[in-house]
Amino acid sequence: MSWVRRREIPLIIFAVTFFISLLQYYLKIPFLAEANTELSNWVLIMSTFALGTGLIALCMYHGKIIMQRRKGYFVSIIFFIAMVMLFSSYYLAPSFADYLYNEIYTPLSIAIICFTAFYNYTAIYRAFRIRNLDAAFFAFAAVFLMMMYAPVFEVVIPQTITVANWILDVPNMGASRGVIIGVALGTIAIAVRVLLGYERAYTG
């Protein structure tokens, strides 16, 4: 097997970076802190490159659709026009870029998010049916939390806020803490698995 394909190399890279990041947190050794900062900077640089590769991938994807005149190819043309317009206006006419961002991109983004509100209300009608005890708890909590966020209920029935706060502070708090601890333990478990070589998905 070629040395570049060996599984030990990614594992060694992971172990070294992992221990530098871990130990610098607990030990006040200047070298470790500097090495960790340097590693963080590398990740930032790689993340910036990832934005570039993402752009290339998008262009390739939409370019292919236009070349093959696939269904909806005009949307891909709009993508290229929008990208070139926004990109060039940032350098040539910044005020026009602001206009594009604030008056076109922002309202469109808000409109897309708003669509979900309509579906949410349909989902409430369909999903909040009390078919069993679990669904009853779910519907009970959801109704009181909804009431909590609408000022009208707090004014008309002040007790709703007491019940909603109890749901937030007692059952919700316990469950949320459980989730937080569970996620933390799961992360540690994955790190140990990677260190021991059981988790190899990241090596490709």
């Binding site: 930032l44 990832a50 922002t106 808000i110 009390i130 009208v152 004014v155 989730v179």
Partner: protein
């Protein structure tokens, strides 16, 4: 009324089950637009954490350093952007010095928009406030910024930061008096990287994420929060202004009432069907 609403004998529950989506869409649309034409002016009780946020900012002294990160996209403007605009306005009124960063690529543009909309109270760019720009890498970016807040050599607009007076006002992350972040997702990465390093951390969060964030409030890791547009409306009330968020509250009350009514209607119809129409 025997519950029959159509000549072919279809009762209201069957009708609702068949056309629920169309009816609900129309009702939501109507309830959203109604307050725009006829404001109801429903009173707005204050959430204790909104008060806590307001008085934390109110207690800032002129020149105190505040770090702000805009970590959301323009689609979340209504839920988070309005609250951030109100908070930024309050910070400029208090004459705090503001350093703006972002862990979302859209963040600097949103900050730029807000700075163009609020009264800067004579604040000077580079001296009283600065937009440093986007830090890629998300949580790694946060860790990098926490370990070296002076990592930016140029700001969002391409100006060198080395001669900016505000950049000489801090050396470490602990030099910031307050950190305010706005995000739509779970706050774990922000808590992991910033908690314990800055005295006061405030989150401007989506209403639906608040229940999951409450453990951090109770432990004090997160000092306080603003819960979405409702929190923004409460904040506007505390500031004594009637802004965009206040205008949304009537529509919010009406549509959430619809949610409660729909839950009752759905269960009434379901139980009636289950019990055989009795």
């Amino acid at each position: 009324m025997n519950g029959r609403i159509r000549g072919d004998g279809m009762d209201w529950h069957t009708f609702m089950s068949k056309y629920d989506r169309q009816i609900i869409f129309l009702v939501v649309l109507f309830l959203t637009f109604l307050p725009a034409f006829r404001p109801i002016g429903i009173p707005l009780p204050q959430f204790y954490l909104t008060n806590k946020t307001y008085y934390a900012i109110e207690s800032l002294k002129p020149g105190d350093l505040v770090l702000i990160s805009f970590d959301f996209t323009p689609g979340e403007w209504v839920e988070l952007g309005i609250a951030m605009r109100d908070i930024m306005q309050h910070l400029f009124i208090k004459r705090a010095r503001i350093v703006i960063i972002a862990f979302d690529p859209n963040g600097p543009a949103i900050a730029h928009r807000i700075l163009g909309e609020i009264d800067l109270k004579g604040a000077v760019y580079g001296t009283d406030y600065v937009v440093l720009g986007y830090i890629p890498g998300f949580e790694t970016g946060m860790a990098a910024f926490v370990s070296n807040p002076k990592m930016f050599e140029r700001d969002y607009y391409g100006n060198p930061t080395v001669n900016m007076p505000i950049m000489n006002a801090f050396n470490t992350i602990s030099d910031f008096k307050m950190y305010i972040f706005a995000c739509l997702t779970w706050v774990d990465p922000w808590m992991r990287q910033f908690s314990g390093k800055i005295e006061t951390i405030i989150g401007v969060l989506s209403s639906d994420i608040v229940p999951q964030v409450m453990p951090y409030i109770n432990t004090g890791q997160l000092y306080s929060l603003i819960r979405g547009s409702r929190g923004a409306a409460e904040y506007e009330q505390l500031m004594g202004i009637k802004g965009e968020a206040t205008a949304f509250m009537d529509a919010a009350s009406l549509t959430v009432s619809l949610g409660v009514i729909l839950t009752i209607v759905a269960n009434y119809g379901y139980l009636k069907k289950k019990l055989g129409g009795r």
